[in-house]
């Protein structure tokens, strides 16, 4: 299996542990990553809001680069997935629009033909790789670990664009992967909700309140950690958890794992390889529980 890997800005900025764990996990699974080094930021929704055509053009450029690689795009970020899915749907549905966008790619000798598919690691593992094949690679079953899924808005909604109308199980893939790792998925209200990151600098109190509400909710349901396929959720849930604890007036201490970190633990990789020590909220309790 081979993908045109789009690591995204955050795994190359604030969450280097995601980049590292993604590389290790894919190599352990025998998934070949062809990194799209020249691709630009998706715009994370912010550029779409300012200037939709500009954002769609930058994403069309990424899709054209993937066509050159001859493989689907693989992301490790719910937000990148959402923004790219939306741009791709628009470009594929409207040939006139695609042609206009392509005019801006032409000076670079690029053209998007409309054939690229975009898949998050979460989808790729279940739909392309197969849960049974994954299970066959598990070396360290995470028995006894209670992990709460936290999906991130962009990989769920709108369901029409994110493919959930045809594949409703996509809203259960995290639970399925957690179980495939040998851990127990925790059900709680917060799993589909917003982490608050988009309003962090606009209304910090509300944003941090969301962090506190969902982490405490998961904790009340017995979770030892949260697992997320979105590094932006990670930035907020991990980085602003100390503030959330202050706001809520209670200890939270909830480790926030990136999806590849959880998978990597089950695949027998070391905590160091997965950079589990590069978090704001300590992941020590999780490592001890699974003997990593």
């Amino acid at each position: 299996m081979r993908y045109a890997w789009y690591p995204g800005c955050v795994s190359q900025g604030g969450c280097p542990e995601l980049y590292a764990s993604m590389v290790k996990v894919c190599s352990a699974l025998g998934i070949e990553l062809e990194e799209l080094k020249g691709a630009a930021c998706t715009g994370a929704g912010v550029l779409t809001e300012r200037n939709p055509e500009l954002a769609d053009t930058l994403n069309a450029r990424t899709f054209a680069l993937a066509e050159q690689v001859g493989a689907p795009v693989l992301t490790n970020c719910s937000t990148c997935q959402g923004v790219m899915s939306q741009a791709n749907a628009k470009l594929k549905a409207d040939p006139k629009y695609l042609a206009r966008v392509n005019q801006h790619l032409a000076p670079e000798g690029l053209e998007y033909k409309g054939t690229t598919e975009v898949r998050h690691l979460l989808w790729a593992l279940v739909e392309d790789y197969g849960l049974d094949n994954f299970k066959a690679k598990v070396q360290r079953p995470l028995t006894g670990l209670k992990a709460a899924p936290f999906y991130g808005c962009y990989i769920l909604r709108p369901t029409k664009v994110l493919g959930l109308d045809e594949k409703p199980a996509r809203s259960r893939y995290l639970e399925m992967l957690i179980a495939a790792c040998g851990a127990d998925p925790v059900d709680y209200d917060g799993k589909f909700k917003c982490c608050g990151f988009p309003i962090l600098t606009l209304n910090e109190k509300n944003s941090v309140n969301m962090v506190g509400t969902h982490t405490l909710d998961a904790k009340a349901h017995g979770a030892h950690c949260l697992v997320t396929p979105c590094p932006l959720c990670h930035l907020n849930l991990d980085g602003f958890q100390p503030k959330a604890a202050g706001l809520k007036g209670q200890q939270i201490n909830m480790p926030i794992l990136h999806l590849p970190q959880l998978l990597g633990l089950a695949l027998g990789l070391s905590a160091k390889e997965l950079r589990l020590n590069h978090h704001i909220m300590s992941t020590k309790a999780v490592m001890e529980m699974v003997n990593a």
Binding site: C9, V10, Q12, G13, G14, C15, P16, E17, K37, G38, A39, A40, C41, G43, A44, G45, V46, L47, E49, R50, N51, E53, L54, T57, L58, R61, H104, P107, E108, C153, Y154, L156, R157, P158, T159, K193, C194, G196, P198, I199, T201, L202, N203, K205, N206, S207, N209, M210, T213, G239, F240, P242, K243, N277, H278, H279, I280
Partner: protein, 318 residues
């Protein structure tokens, strides 16, 4: 077919906490979830409280959570909602429960009233009616379709943590008047919408877009209001600085520079806020995850810049 309704019940005069009650009944192939609810009330339990009127997705009174998602019960077929013979019905979220499935819509209407949901046409009266170009009205019609059902508010993630937030329905309604060419006082409206509880408090979670049975897409209207507010010069806001800094960073290097984004959003002159960032920065530094201050350009950055220049120029000329 036979189905079981699992209904959330709560009677404040009797119950301390809500409870679920199951009702099993025969329903028709094409019945709506609402048809079954009415049958339960008529045949099994007359005390079941629910709201409905038109039964045709027009009045907006039957919005409830069906299998956890806000839906108009009259517009949802039972065979789709209960493929395995079980459907869960709960009252909408974010609004106080009066009894069983009936919620207090007071806070909803209060927000709608707060955005001045009426036209303020120019003082000089035209001889006949006020004329509006078709195109402009086409934009507005999408919001006029709102039936005030509250489904979008039910799941709004900001309303959940901050009931002061004007919320998706009221903000969509505000857009309906801002976008109407016959309206005159957009400056005032946009100014107040820029304040706390308004357009910049939305967290872009898509819940309202997903929930709305009439495709009003409230979130998209909120984003359109943001663009309008900026056009009208209301730019002294972290939301605007955040967006500007984000765009500039991608334009300069092809990717996002998080350190720069954090500082530029607060504004270089906003010392207290910058000092507030320090603990977060220090914790990140300690964990070895502070973004490098030397933000490298991506290969292809010059092409990205070219695309930015071309499209920003096009935007200015249109």
């Amino acid at each position: 077919m036979q189905v079981t309704y699992r209904i959330k019940r709560f009677d404040p005069e009797v119950d301390k906490t809500p409870r679920f009650q199951d009702f099993t009944l025969q329903v028709g192939e094409n019945d709506s979830v609402l048809d079954g609810m009415i049958k339960i009330r008529e045949e099994q339990d007359g005390s079941l409280a629910l709201r409905c009127s038109c039964r045709a997705a027009i009045c907006g009174s039957c919005a409830m959570r069906v299998n956890g998602e806000p839906r108009l019960m009259c517009k949802t077929r039972i065979r789709d909602a209960a493929p395995e013979g079980l459907v869960k019905v709960e009252p909408m979220g974010n609004l106080p429960v009066v009894k069983d499935l009936v919620v207090d819509m007071g806070p909803f209407w209060q927000k709608v009233r707060a955005v001045k949901p009426w036209l303020e046409p120019p003082a000089a009266k035209p001889e006949r009616e006020y004329l509006a170009p078709n195109e402009a009205m086409r934009e507005v019609v999408g919001v006029v379709a709102c039936i005030m059902c509250g489904a979008c508010v039910s799941d709004c993630t900001v309303w959940e943590v901050d009931p002061n937030f004007l919320g998706p329905a009221a903000l969509a309604k505000a857009y309906r008047f801002v976008a109407d060419p016959r309206n005159t006082d957009n400056d005032e409206r946009l100014k107040s919408l820029t304040e706390y509880t308004g357009i910049w408090d939305c967290t872009h979670c898509f819940y309202c877009v997903q929930a709305c049975p009439k495709d009003v897409a409230p979130m998209e209207r909120i984003l359109a209001l943001r663009r309008e507010a900026i056009k009208h010069g209301y730019t002294d806001h972290n939301g605007v600085r955040h967006s500007d800094s984000f765009a500039q960073s991608v334009k300069d290097s092809g990717s996002l520079n998080e350190g720069r984004l954090a500082v530029e959003t607060q504004g270089y002159l906003n010392l207290p806020a910058l000092i507030g960032l320090a603990p977060v920065g220090l914790r990140a530094l300690k964990a070895g995850k502070m973004p490098s201050p030397l933000h490298h350009k991506r290969p292809g950055a010059s092409q990205v810049k070219r695309i930015f220049n071309e499209l920003e120029k096009e935007e200015k000329t249109t």
